[in-house]
Amino acid sequence: MTQLKFIALRLVQAVPSILAVSVVSFLMLRLVPGDPARVLAGPRASDATIAQVRASMGLDQPLVTQYLLYLGRAINGDFGVNLTGSSPVLEIVGNGAVVTGTLAIVALIFTVIISLTLALLAARRPEGIADHIARVYSVGGLALPSFWVALMLIVLVALPTGWFPVGGWPTDFGARLNAVFLPALTLALSLSPILVRSLRSSLLEVFGSDYVLSARSIGVGKRRLLWSYVVRNALLPSIPLVAVIVGFLLGGTVVVESAYNLPGLGQILVGAVSNRDANVVQGIVLTLGTMIILVYLLADVLLSLVDPRARQS
């Protein structure tokens, strides 16, 4: 199968998943006990507003028609307005997605750096000191709740040094990177334990393989051997895992953003649930679900680019 054909096929396969996500985000509001028009209009809406919402959203139509109407509006970027009617949901979600996206990308970079360093040190000498540290880290790291780590980093690092802002979203790009530094580190600390273990075992496997032995025997330099032979091959089995980690990561942002008071999708979602702001909750669920499907897709395509064997399955 050619590369282009593979990518096209994956894109087509993603469509039903995205539709499924839209069904979940649609049904979500219908599952709330009571009148969906009342849910959408908010807890303090008047009867007139509720009637108006019911008519304008087509809530008196059959469920399938309602869903198609919802899908049509979503495709046109119309997710309604928030409860107070002050801003469109699309704008709220867009602003939040910038924060969460920046945080997720920086966190992913940190996760890969931490995991790769630790795994390399561990795999260099199995059963050595570094290996034991990596092992304790990969078991113990999962036991650290990220919201607690966040608070500890605020108290022990951010407040005494004053290097990092606690909360808010600056306009300047450099200041933004500074604002996501500690949150990204927190996320990386909770995600890298998963990656360390798999990287360590794939590194060991590659270290012991025949092609590394033969590369060494024909005199390939140490540095080149490590980066172009060992690391490259050892990373391959971890790429699908990275996609799973991004899923965890986007979920983890919910808690970490709340702890650091960052105005990302997660914090907005928590606030919207507390205020029972149905349109915002729906918009964010749809956005996050779609984002994750796209990440899985991207990981599949990336893997097929670096490893043509992946196209076979």
């Binding site: 999962l142 919201f147 108290v155 979920g251 919910v254 709340s258 928590v270 964010i284 996050l288 994750i292």
Partner: protein, 280 residues
């Protein structure tokens, strides 16, 4: 080459066995000790008793973990919370495991339609991160422990269903299962009595790892203010209420956090030991 590696590994395995059982022991003892202390504290002290004259006192002999903004002892609350958090984490790991195992049996053993429906449903749910699905459930039925349990059952069954299904597909073709079928046993009986017991060890390994995640998710949800409601002592909720005083009264957040870490480490040790054991 592989032979040489295998020889090198041989003595290490023996050491690993002792290591493994000690990990299992340590993990179980930590959790058992915490639960026993938690039960005793709940019987002898009142974790929600307020004393407004004793507000925000730093750790001292009278109050080893200090007191909170309502003059409640943080030590008593942190210890009492064990009897809520640890059993809930175990329950929240068990619930999806049972559901997922049954659905996995159905998918692997119940024909093509059942298989497709179960597996597609799983794929669909996997597109959402667990915190997000959990918050959706909270939005639907309101905050609390019920929302947490329903959410975790909705999310976590998928992994078990996949695991059990893939094992069923293998085990189903084994001679002893064919023999049971030929001997005239019905499909359900073969599935439950002959296929299920052979798929269980892997399920148990997953279960211990999920208890760690369940504990973190439960306390995380309470930290967001969407889980356990005040004044019930719960670690995540204690941290949430203490974060307002994080600069002036560090003991409100540090100690409940350490309790989560210790309990989660207990579950982690058990899960790691079981994981080693399943690989041998």
């Amino acid at each position: 080459m592989t032979g040489a590696i295998a020889m090198l590994r041989l003595p290490r395995k023996k050491r690993a066995v002792r290591h493994r059982s000690s990990k299992l022991w340590t993990g179980t003892s930590i959790l058992a000790a915490m639960l026993v202390v938690g039960v005793i504290v709940n019987l002898t002290a009142d974790p929600i008793a307020q004393d407004l004259t004793q507000r925000l006192i730093p750790p001292s002999l009278a109050h080893p973990f200090g007191t909170d903004e309502l003059g409640r002892s943080v030590l008593i609350r942190a210890l009492a919370a064990t009897t809520l958090d640890v059993p809930l984490a175990i329950g929240a790991a068990l619930l999806p495991a049972i559901l997922g195992t049954l659905l996995g049996l159905l998918a692997g053993y119940g024909g093509r339609i059942a298989d497709t429906v179960v597996m597609r449903l799983g794929d669909m749910l996997q597109a959402f991160p667990s915190y997000v699905l959990m918050i959706v459930v909270v939005f639907i039925i309101g905050p609390g422990i019920n929302a947490f349990l329903i959410a975790i059952a909705t999310i976590n069954w998928v992994a078990y269903a996949r695991l059990v299904r893939s094992q069923v597909l293998v085990i189903r073709e084994m001679d002893y299962v064919h023999a049971a079928r030929i001997g005239g046993l019905g499909g359900a009986r073969v599935a439950l009595r002959h296929v299920l017991p052979n798929a269980l060890p892997q399920v148990i390994v997953y279960l211990a790892a999920d208890a760690v995640l369940a504990l973190i998710l439960l306390s995380g949800l309470s930290f967001l203010g969407l889980g356990v409601a005040s004044p019930t002592p719960e670690w995540g909720l204690m941290i949430n209420q203490g974060r307002l005083f994080v600069q002036s009264a560090w003991w409100l957040t540090v100690f409940p956090g350490l309790m989560i870490v210790i309990a989660a480490a207990g579950f982690s040790l058990i899960s790691d030991a079981l994981d080693d054991w399943s690989r041998v």
